[in-house]
């Protein structure tokens, strides 16, 4: 546990003693990363805002039960990722029940592809590719590649084994490699 985790635990103790500013300080410290994770998973800044807002409300509600055995970041990210997975699952259920227009819906969302994607720059193209990963792979990819979290922490956030997280990350990279093949070929020239 590093210094910033120690600081987080101090802030939580102050908050539990009734000092409201301490929760504000936790938000200031963690909102940007929580937002980046949510944005990486959902691909939509407004939805990411909603998720982060909801995550902090839930954290505020549940902090009295925080047991100081884990990092606050790990605990908060678990809430954020679960909220994102819930949103993705609900959106997918809507798509599945109306299978008749599945292709049309998905094409509208992801399939402008070729020509449209070609116009996007690398960053946007990667974001577009990431958003097509299966949700759990997406969560692993965003937390590992984008945010640099360790496999152990990601495993703890997702409630999975480290081996499973590594396998997910590997699969995500393979899929992104295929999605970004044109860029890679271009790079090789």
């Amino acid at each position: 546990m590093n210094g910033s985790d120690h600081d987080d635990h101090q802030l939580i103790r102050r908050f539990l003693e009734g000092e409201r500013w301490a929760f504000d300080a936790l938000m200031t410290a963690h909102a940007p990363q929580a937002h980046r994770v949510a944005l990486g998973m959902l691909g939509d800044p407004d939805q990411a805002d909603d998720v982060v807002q909801e995550a902090f409300i839930r954290a505020h509600r549940a902090l009295p039960r925080f047991e100081f055995r884990s990092r606050f970041r790990t605990w908060l990210h678990r809430i954020v990722v679960n909220l994102c997975l819930g949103r993705i699952r609900r959106a997918r259920r809507v798509s599945l029940v109306s299978l008749g227009d599945l292709a049309q819906r998905l094409r509208a969302r992801t399939g402008l592809p070729a020509r449209e994607l070609e116009r996007r720059d690398l960053g946007e193209r990667i974001e577009a590719a990431v958003i097509t990963l299966p949700p759990k792979q997406r969560a692993v990819f965003v937390m590992r590649q984008q945010e640099g979290l360790g496999y152990a922490e990601i495993a703890s956030i997702l409630g999975r084994s480290e081996g499973g997280v590594r396998a997910n990350y590997f699969q995500a990279l393979q899929k992104l490699r295929r999605a970004l093949a044109e860029h890679e070929e271009w790079d090789d020239e």
């Binding site: 938000m27 909102a31 937002h35 902090f56 029940v97 599945l102 399939g111 299966p134 949700p135 970004l180």
Partner: protein, 183 residues
């Protein structure tokens, strides 16, 4: 990639990400495998290029985001939602709570089964529409149909897992291919 090669995926990632810097023996084992296995060597080189490409990605600049607005919205919500203290139930309440929790778990399980039933129904619909197209002679060929089904529905696949693991792109691709089958 063979099963034994799959077991090298984790160590390959560790080597790529510099996680084996302090474990020379492990790094040497991975390198020895890469020297001996062209499949893994190609995979490694390709992943290396992909990671290099990803590293060049400009991340969105979130410095401009309205963090104060976010804090204000959260503060407004929690002003009417005080933190919940740890609940220590009396023994009789604890038994009741445990029974209620068990009932919830059972209900959740039943709901999940229903959800799986829905997924199976949906998959059956997809498959049926493909088979109908084939029966009507609208499908390109039985081989194409079989290839689509074999690729997307491995016989030993867990349907729930299958759906979970399919990305939006994969679902779109499947839907498109089935449209093609319909002619």
């Amino acid at each position: 990639m063979s099963r034994s090669c799959r077991e090298w995926r984790g160590p390959m990632l560790d080597l790529l990400e510099g996680e084996l810097e302090h474990d020379a023996a492990a790094a040497a084992r991975v390198r020895a495998h890469l020297d001996a296995c062209p499949v893994c060597a190609a995979e490694y080189a390709s992943l290396q290029r992909t990671l290099a490409l990803l590293a060049r990605r400009p991340l969105r600049d979130d410095a401009e985001r309205d963090w104060d607005g976010l804090r204000r919205r959260v503060q407004a919500e929690i002003a009417t939602d005080p933190p919940r203290r740890r609940f220590r139930p009396a023994p009789i309440l604890a038994v009741t709570a445990a029974a209620a929790a068990l009932a919830l778990v059972l209900l959740w399980g039943a709901g999940r089964l229903t959800g799986r039933g829905e997924q199976r129904r949906v998959l059956s619909q997809i498959e049926a529409s493909g088979r109908e197209a084939l029966a009507d002679g609208r499908a390109a060929s039985p081989q194409v149909m079989d290839a689509v089904l074999a690729e997307d529905y491995p016989v030993d696949a867990d349907v729930d897992q299958l759906i979970d693991d399919m990305s939006a792109d994969e679902l779109a691709a499947l839907a498109e291919r089935l449209e093609m089958l319909k002619g």
